[in-house]
Symmetry: C2
Subunit: 352 residues, 2 copies
């Protein structure tokens, strides 16, 4: 359920305050100003309102960036395990997704592997930090090295390799961590954000694209994004209501302490049962090692106990499964005996 | 301003009735059922829920259909004067828009001209009925002849010429007319609808694509639309709130009698001043002959009197301008002395 204050914000914004309240709303100056101020206040980023483009959700933002940057014959690097939608979105531009695995132990970016994956056809790289499903936040030194290698490669091939920075989990962080934005470290970069995580309301479609404050040659890029929003994507802006609610929605607070307490108690309980799991730095997810190598079989076993998890194989991280922390304490507590029964069964049996 | 009941419907739908209220909402079965029932009740169309695709507005519906049907090297026929967005949307698919003017006196479809415009490269034709800006509703006999010529041409070139039927004004009709849907007469057709006209709330992005009940080979088309909605357009569905409000919004009534009374009094008053104008059969618009041949100059003259109209030239109907009937009676009454002053000036002067 969305956090307290969410429904009230929507109901308040539903009441017109002037005659053109419900007219076509695009990149409203009020929305851009709020996003710009919030990026400054919450993430220390200085991005001009004119470099912010309101999208009806994070997926629209991603798809707009990909269609802008990639086409037939191009390559786009993604980090694996990837969010499930990247490959399909890239293929739909005509380009080929090139997967580069994270480090298998630390889950950090493998910079050497990224450097090796770059070719003359590489148009863009998609980085997701905090990373779904590993919960990893990439550190400033790693980001700086990534920026440096992308700059070198761009110079080598005499064309920029653009960075799409998917930061939809940037506000779902634990232990008072902060999540550095990649767009602060690399000029040719696009920040893609969605409010669906912090508001736990993906059905309401509210997000944005923000250009790096150092993006070169930004005027044609601004124009291209606007054409994509208005024409190609057929008016892909958030609804008037969500844009008018934005100021109030920025005041809505997700209870991160509660989420962190759920993370800690679940990690502890899972470990006691015998599962191998590390506490994530961010996101809603626990990435748990599957007791069976065949994670899909184990996910089916869990499903037979009414526990629904995402097996690792379809998300390109075999041997793991992903659990969500968005359930409440009661539901999580009720899941533990079932997780224990599944573990006991798994230890005593081979997958069928 | 939206009609009475609109704000209440949104506020009611904002309150979650179950835990997954604000989760990802796509083509919700409830929405499809409501649309299917309404098409039956209000327009006599039998369209299965599975053939209805909820879009975040009519433009998204149009863009999805065009991107599905047309590409590099193709041609798409549009009727001129066209809605301002068609050409750009078609060009963005890689195809070429081919304009066919309506009959200059009756504003009816020029079937001979349409037949002549069809080539082996024609992939689709976009028809807008009721037609913006002429206010014309195409009659059943004309539609039947159009369907017949499209069938003949499709057989001749051994591939279907698809019809995109833009029916966004189908409920804004005068004199108790009904608006026949083209999808009832031609199998290879897509109905595109938007609620932005009947609700006077284009900022809220609610519309749909419906397949003709006789569409051949519909399964791959259904899949292609769903992939466009979910992947290519980055989750281009209406917000959860608008989908949950849909049932109530279908009960919201736009006061068509009031709109018709404004049409009648404005047509009468404009004629008394000396303007040449025919009462439209539908839409929010009056298409008025410009006293100066240069309609842009006359629109500027009107703007200097604080009357804002769309000149005909950019909408490809030179010598006319388009007035909106969405202003209230007071505003329309206040506009008349200004329209009279502009007419008197125009009669006494040449355009500067």
């Amino acid at each position: 359920m969305p956090p307290s204050g969410f429904v009230e914000a929507l109901q308040k914004a539903a009441v017109p305050r002037h005659e053109s309240w419900y007219t076509y709303s695009e990149n409203l100056p009020e929305s851009r100003a709020i996003v710009s101020e919030t990026l400054k206040a919450k993430r220390g980023l200085s991005i001009e309102p004119e470099d912010i483009f309101m999208t009806n959700g994070g997926m629209a933002g991603l798809s707009i960036c990909l269609q802008l940057l990639a086409g037939e014959g191009d390559e786009v690097i993604i980090i694996t395990p990837p969010w499930l939608g990247y490959r399909r979105m890239i293929l739909d531009t005509g380009a080929v997704p090139v997967g580069v695995p994270v480090h298998p132990i630390t889950f950090d970016l493998d910079l050497e592997a990224i450097a090796s994956a770059i070719t003359e056809r590489t148009r863009a790289i998609v980085i997701n930090s905090p990373h779904n499903p590993t919960g990893k936040i990439y550190s400033v030194p790693i980001i700086e090295q990534l920026a440096s290698l992308l700059t070198t490669a761009s110079e080598h091939y005499s064309q920029p390799i653009y960075l799409i920075s998917d930061e939809v989990f940037s506000r779902i962080v634990f232990d008072n961590r902060s999540c550095p934005s990649l767009v602060q470290f690399y000029p040719f970069s696009f920040l893609v954000y969605s409010y669906s995580k912090i508001l736990i309301a993906p059905g309401q479609r509210l997000g944005y694209i923000a250009l790096s404050p150092t993006m070169p040659n930004r005027e044609p890029i601004r124009n291209a994004i606007y054409v994509a929003q208005s024409v190609i994507f057929g008016w892909s802006f958030p609804s008037a209501l969500m844009q008018y609610a934005l100021g109030d929605l920025e005041q809505v607070e997700l209870d991160l302490d509660y989420l962190q307490q759920k993370r800690d108690s679940m990690v502890k309980a899972l470990r006691e049962i015998g599962y191998k799991v590390e506490p994530p730095e961010a996101t809603f997810f626990l990435l748990v090692q599957s007791p069976w190598q065949d994670d899909c079989a184990f996910a089916e076993l869990l499903a037979s106990h009414d526990i629904f998890v995402l097996p690792g194989t379809p998300q390109e991280i075999p041997g793991y499964f992903r659990m969500s922390l968005t359930a409440n304490n009661d539901m999580l507590a009720r899941s533990l005996p079932k997780l224990q029964a599944a573990m006991e069964y798994a230890m005593a049996n081979f997958p069928v």
